[in-house]
Assembly symmetry: C2
Homo-oligomer: 447 residues x 2
Amino acid sequence: MAIVTSAPPGMRDFLPAAVARRRFVMERIREVYRLHGFVPLETPSMERLEVLLGKYGEEGDQLIFRVMKRGEALSRAVEDGGKELADFGLRYDLTVPLARVVAEHASSLPRPFKRYQMQPVWRADRPQRGRLREFYQCDVDFVGSRSLVAEYEVISAVTGALGALGFTDFRVRVNERRILSGLVELLGLPAEQGIAVITVIDKLDKIGMEGVQRELTLLGVGAESWELLASLLKPGVTLAEVAAAFAGRSPAGEAGCANLEALFALIARAPLAAGSVGFDLSLARGLSYYTGPIFEIALPDLAGSVGGGGRYDGLIGMFGKEEIPAVGFALGFERIMLIMEERGMFPELAEGADLMVSQLDGAPEALAAVLAFAKLARSAGLSVEVYPEVAKLPKQFKHAESIGAPMVAILGLREAESQTVGLRRMGTGEQVTLPWSEAIATLKGRA
Amino acid sequence: MAIVTSAPPGMRDFLPAAVARRRFVMERIREVYRLHGFVPLETPSMERLEVLLGKYGEEGDQLIFRVMKRGEALSRAVEDGGKELADFGLRYDLTVPLARVVAEHASSLPRPFKRYQMQPVWRADRPQRGRLREFYQCDVDFVGSRSLVAEYEVISAVTGALGALGFTDFRVRVNERRILSGLVELLGLPAEQGIAVITVIDKLDKIGMEGVQRELTLLGVGAESWELLASLLKPGVTLAEVAAAFAGRSPAGEAGCANLEALFALIARAPLAAGSVGFDLSLARGLSYYTGPIFEIALPDLAGSVGGGGRYDGLIGMFGKEEIPAVGFALGFERIMLIMEERGMFPELAEGADLMVSQLDGAPEALAAVLAFAKLARSAGLSVEVYPEVAKLPKQFKHAESIGAPMVAILGLREAESQTVGLRRMGTGEQVTLPWSEAIATLKGRA
C-alpha cells in the first residue's frame, strides 16, 4: 500500500523559497511590533481543554483539534462511551493563551503588559480554497490600560507593520461596540436582541441594504426604525451624523461616539505611518467580547479583512479575579502572504548559497583545499555549498543553477597547489583564476 | 471551579526574556547552517498516522500524540471499540517529515538537497525533570550523496553552530555502524543478535565494564570473546588498534575503519571551527537505521549528548521508490538552552524598550506630542513604550524599571510647546532637557 505523502489537508509543506518569504514577512512585522515596545510571548501548542472550551462559541468548540488520551485513561474513556477522550486541545487563537498567561504569571509581568505573539493556530475547518487548518497569527495586545493610547498604539503597530511590508492602500475601518448597542436602542429593540441585529448589520458588505432590511424585518424591526437605520448605514455617513442621531436618545451610543471622536483626534494629531483610518458604522465584527472601539483592516483587492481587533475589557481577566482592560489586534499572516504573492510585493530574497565550490579531481589534497576554501568563504559571511562528489563540470554547474548559486568556485589539484581558485559567474559564464583572498573579496563584492 | 492556568505538563510558557534568549540561540544556529549552504524547510505540525507509525519502534509509536477524529467519524470509531479514533499525529521528529517531503516534492528539490529544519516536536513522555513533551530540534540533513563530504559538512555545520554560541569544550564522538557490526562478528555472535549487543555496549558510560560484561554474558558472549572486546573497549583505544583487530576477520569492520580513517583525514586537513573530534568505539546510538558513521556531541558538564546523528542511507527513500543516501545531525535545542543558562553564557539581550515616554498632563496637545515624539524615536530605530495614562512620575518610572527601559522621556505641555523633551537616565537619575532631534541623537548613542 503506497502511503500518501502530501501534507495533511489544510496544512502545507514550506519549501526553502517559501520559508524565506515567510521569514521575511514575519521579521518585518516583528521589528515594527518591537519598535512599538511590544515584547514577545510564546505559549505551548496545547492547552487544557477546560481552558479552551466555551471561549469561541459553540462552533468554535467544534473546531478545536483535540489530542487523545493514551493507555488506560483512553480505554476507560472509550468504555465510558467516548465522552472524555481528550484532556488537551491545540491552540485555537493567541488571545485565550494570553489570558491564561496573564493569570498564571501575574506577578512577573509588568502592568501594562504589551506583548506580541506570532505562532501557528489550528482549526478543524473543512479544508477549502483559502481555508487552512494550520496558520500563523501575528497578534499585538496592550493589556492593562483603559486609555485610548492603547488603541492608538495597537493601530500604530499593525499599520506600521503593513507599511513596512510595502502596503499603502489599506484602510482601517473603525467602529465602537457601544455605537452598535446604541443602534439597537435606537431601533427600539431589547438589548438581548442586540447580537442578532449586529450580526445582520455586519453582513451589509455581502447581502446589501435590501438583504439587511429583509433580515432585520424578520427580527422585528419596524418600517420607521428601518428608515432611521438606513439613513445611517448609507455610505460615507460621518461620526458626527451618527452622534447627532444618538443625542439624547442613547447614552451608550453617545459615549461610543465621543470615544471614537477622541481616538480620531489623537490619530489626526499624530498620524499613522501608513494607510488611512476611518469610521465605518457597518463594521460589527462577530465576536461578542468587544467592549469599546473595534477595528478591521481592508485592502481593495481582498474580500474580508487582513486583520482585526478591538478593545475587550472583560476577557483577559477571565482566568483570574480582577477585570483587566485590554486592546488587541491580530494580523492575518497567511492573507498578507497571499496578497503579497499576488501583487508581486516580495523583493528578490537570497535563499540559496552565494557560492558553490566544485570538485575537479579526487585527490585528497584537492578535496582538503575545497573544504578549506569553503571554510574561508564561510568565515567571510558567505553561504557556501560544497559539491560533494567528483563529477563532470557541466553536471556540477547544473546543480549550482538548481540551488540558485550565482558563482561557482573551481578547485582542483593545480589550484590547490597554487592556492588559487577559478571563479565562474553563472549568469555569463565568465571565469577568472584568482588567489584565495582576492577571490573572497570578489565574492563579497557581488554577494 | 477554578481553572488550572499553568502550561500543560511537559510544556512551557516563554515570557519575553526567555523568548529573547531562545531567539538568540536559534538565530545563531540558523546563520551557521545557512553559511553551510543548508536551506530551510518547514512542515506541518501534524502528519498522517500511517506516515508516523512504525518509524520509531514500538515505544515511539506509544509516544506519538494523536489528534482525534471528530463528529460522526469519531462516533463510529468509538462504537467500533476505539480502534481508529485518530487519523493524524503530532510531529515526533524532523526526519520522517523530511523523508515524506523528499518523496512528495522530488521534482522541485535539488539533488543533493541540504536542508535545515528548526521546529518543535511532541512526545507523550511522562513529564519529569528535563523531559519535555514539546521541544525544539535543530536538524541539518545532507540528502542524496554517498560522499564523506556529506559527513564533513554536517559535522562542520553543527560544531560551527556550537562554536558560534560560545562552546569550545565539546567533543564529537564518532563511530561507524559497520565497526559495531564487525564487533558482533568478532564476538562470534549471529548478526541478528547485533542490535542487542550494541545496545549493551551503548550503556558502557552508565553501567561500566562489569555491567557490560554481565549483560553480554547473558547474551551468550563467552570469556574469550569478552577478553577481546574488553581490550578494545578500554579508554583511548585508537582506530588503528581496532582496525588491526578486524584485519582479515571482519570485512564489515575493516570497511568501517577505513571509512572513518578517511573522514578523520579530511577533518585533519580542513579542521573544524570549534570543538574536537575523536573515535569512540563505545558510541552506539540506539537507532537501528544508521548505516555508516555515527556521531554524538558530548559536553563535560552534561550527562547524555547535546546532539547526534549519522549516515542513514535507507530511511529518506522509504516513501519513494529509490534508496536515497543521507547524513543527518540534530542539535538538541533545549539542552543547549539549559547548559547556556547554567554556564551563564548569554550576553545581555536588550529585550525590552529602549525608551519609555511618560505623560505629564492630560492636555490633548501634550498627548499628541508624546505620540509624535514616540513616532520620531521609532522611525530612528528605537523601541519605544508610551506610558498610557497620566500618573505620578514615580509610578511611571517604576514601570520603566519593570520593563527594563534604561531611559525615560518626560513630555508635558511645556515641552510640547517648545518641542523639547526631558531625558532621564534611569540608572543614575540624571536628567537633561533637549530639543527633540538632539534627544533622539542622544538616545541613539546609548541604545
